[in-house]
């Protein structure tokens, strides 16, 4: 039985790899067919796109624009997180602000369309990083607000009471117990916030910047270089996957396992 399982395992793995390869081949074949039918301006072929991606990777354009977009993305996430912490704590501990926060600020912020924000950002900050970060913050902030607000509601009251019985100081209890308890909540919000922020950075750059990937993609689209638009999209997809795998998953595995609930 055991031997059979050991023999079956590599065969199962081979099948899995074959399955992956086959699904990619199907996608590429469909892509190629669409390219032949629609023409290279509307849908460039996979080969043409791969060539364009290689060109991007081998020129300074990548090093010039990718760091700018990543910086804007990270800045948007950091500012959103910091603002959310301040606002949620304010709402938790200041009753008059809580009313405004719950009834006006949070629902209003959630409903503002990103396009309006982008257009206003250009008016208020002119083209550049500030405008793009503003667009990100206004849109990503509600993700943090809802996560933190709900996270505060489900804090372990027993632990907080234990802490208060020892410290008799609510700030110490917040710092030593409530804040660490909110780490997984913040982490999940950051994971979601990062991917949303990245997409928004591109949209923001398209409208309100003169550099960054969104701007370069827009320029390529204006010149009907669709193969470059798709090549940039593929590169960006790879960046997001790499960040997800090497940053978020690593942090989750290394540091967040301790937050697992106590088991009998």
């Amino acid at each position: 039985m055991m031997e059979a399982a050991l023999i079956a395992q590599p065969r199962g793995q081979r099948r899995q790899v074959l399955g992956y390869l086959l699904s990619y081949l199907v996608v590429l074949a469909a892509w190629q067919l669409m390219s032949l039918r629609l023409g290279p301006t509307v849908m460039p072929s996979p080969l043409e796109t791969a060539r364009a991606a290689l060109t991007i990777l081998s020129t300074p354009v990548l090093a010039q624009h990718v760091p700018i977009t990543i910086f804007r993305t990270v800045a948007g996430v950091v500012v959103s997180a910091a603002l959310a912490v301040l606002l949620v704590l304010g709402a938790r501990y200041l009753a008059p602000f809580r009313v405004f926060f719950l009834n006006a600020f949070y629902p209003g912020l959630r409903a503002v369309p990103p396009v309006s924000i982008a257009l206003l950002a250009i008016v208020w900050f002119s083209l550049g990083t500030k405008a793009v970060v503003f667009v990100i913050v206004v849109t990503v902030l509600p993700i943090y607000l809802i996560a933190l607000w709900e996270g505060l509601k489900v804090l372990d009251e027993g632990l907080l009471e234990m802490g208060y019985a020892v410290a008799r100081n609510r700030f110490a209890v917040f710092r030593k117990l409530a804040a660490p308890m909110l780490v997984p909540t913040m982490f999940s919000a950051t994971k979601l916030g990062f991917s949303v922020s990245f997409k928004l950075a591109l949209v923001g750059e398209l409208l309100a910047a003169t550099e960054g990937i969104g701007y370069v993609m827009h320029a390529a689209q204006q010149e009907y270089k669709t193969h470059l638009v798709i090549a940039w999209t593929v590169i960006m997809l790879a960046v997001v996957v790499l960040v997800e795998h090497y940053v978020f998953n690593l942090v989750e595995r290394k540091y967040l396992y301790r937050w697992e609930t106590t088991k009998e």
Partner: protein, 253 residues
């Protein structure tokens, strides 16, 4: 600080429901007092009031002659609590949980915190489990960390809220009772121990306070001068059990 505790005509209501009615109690410093009463009579509410975690409607609570309400942040230095459930933070080790209590208390010296944590974990036979997370410990071990945390705070009074009730194994219960007794004899802190199990109370305490059902009053106080370790089947303890059972039959009827 002797850790003497007094309540004078203590009363507590939740709306129209009166939980405690004029509970007066005097606990000597360094004594082991068990508060015994039927389930739901307000024992935990009483303990939470003593700990300053619950407001009360009338009367007074004093530790060493000082009103607990006037003690403010100083109350944390007067008493510590062994909780019914261990209330350990899951992301810290056994040692880390004990150290956390000292951090919350404001102990800034990291080496000192570590020393104290090691010392108290040794007292509860968990020194070799210092680096284990709570989820890696048994229920009994977690409860011993809970006890060690209270010991680390070195307060004159330790309040214990049914610390054995979450343990399933009879051996774990017996083991923890022995440890509590040994540590009390070693450190002579004032212990106020809440329980609804008469055998547990008779085995542990030198003063038994019997509470009635709601609205709760102190029915009787029994001083136990029987030497330890106690045999729960011994005639003198059986006599007390019979008397308590008779009393409760009368009180509850």
């Amino acid at each position: 600080m002797s850790g003497a505790l007094n309540t004078e005509k203590l009363s507590k209501s939740y709306g129209l429901l009166q939980v405690l009615a004029d509970v007066s109690l005097s606990v000597q410093g360094g004594s082991f007092t068990c508060i015994f009463g039927p389930s739901g009579c307000g024992k935990t509410t009483f303990l939470r009031i003593l700990a300053g975690l619950e407001p009360f409607n009338g009367g007074a609570v004093e530790i060493d002659g000082q009103d607990v309400r006037a003690l403010g942040t100083g109350l944390g230095r007067q008493l510590s609590i062994v909780w019914q459930d261990p209330r350990l933070v899951p992301w810290r080790t056994a040692g880390g949980n004990v150290e956390l209590a000292l951090e919350l208390r404001g102990e800034a010296d990291r080496r000192r915190r570590r020393e104290v944590a090691r010392e108290v974990l040794r007292l509860v036979d968990l020194e070799s489990y210092y680096d284990r997370l709570p989820r890696e410990l048994s229920g009994g071990m977690r409860q011993r960390v809970n006890l060690a945390r209270a010991l680390a705070l070195d307060t004159p009074v330790i309040l214990m809220d049914e610390p054995l009730s979450n343990l399933n194994e009879i051996t774990e219960k017996r083991d923890l009772m022995e440890k509590i007794l040994r540590l009390w004899e070693l450190r002579r802190k004032t212990i106020v121990y809440i329980t609804h199990l008469l055998n547990e109370a008779l085995y542990l305490c030198d003063r038994l306070v019997l509470l009635s059902a709601k609205p709760t009053v102190v029915v009787e106080t029994v001083d136990l001068t029987i030497p330890r370790p106690r045999d729960l089947t011994a005639e003198d303890l059986e006599t007390i059990k019979r008397r308590v059972n008779m009393l409760y039959r009368d009180v509850l009827v």
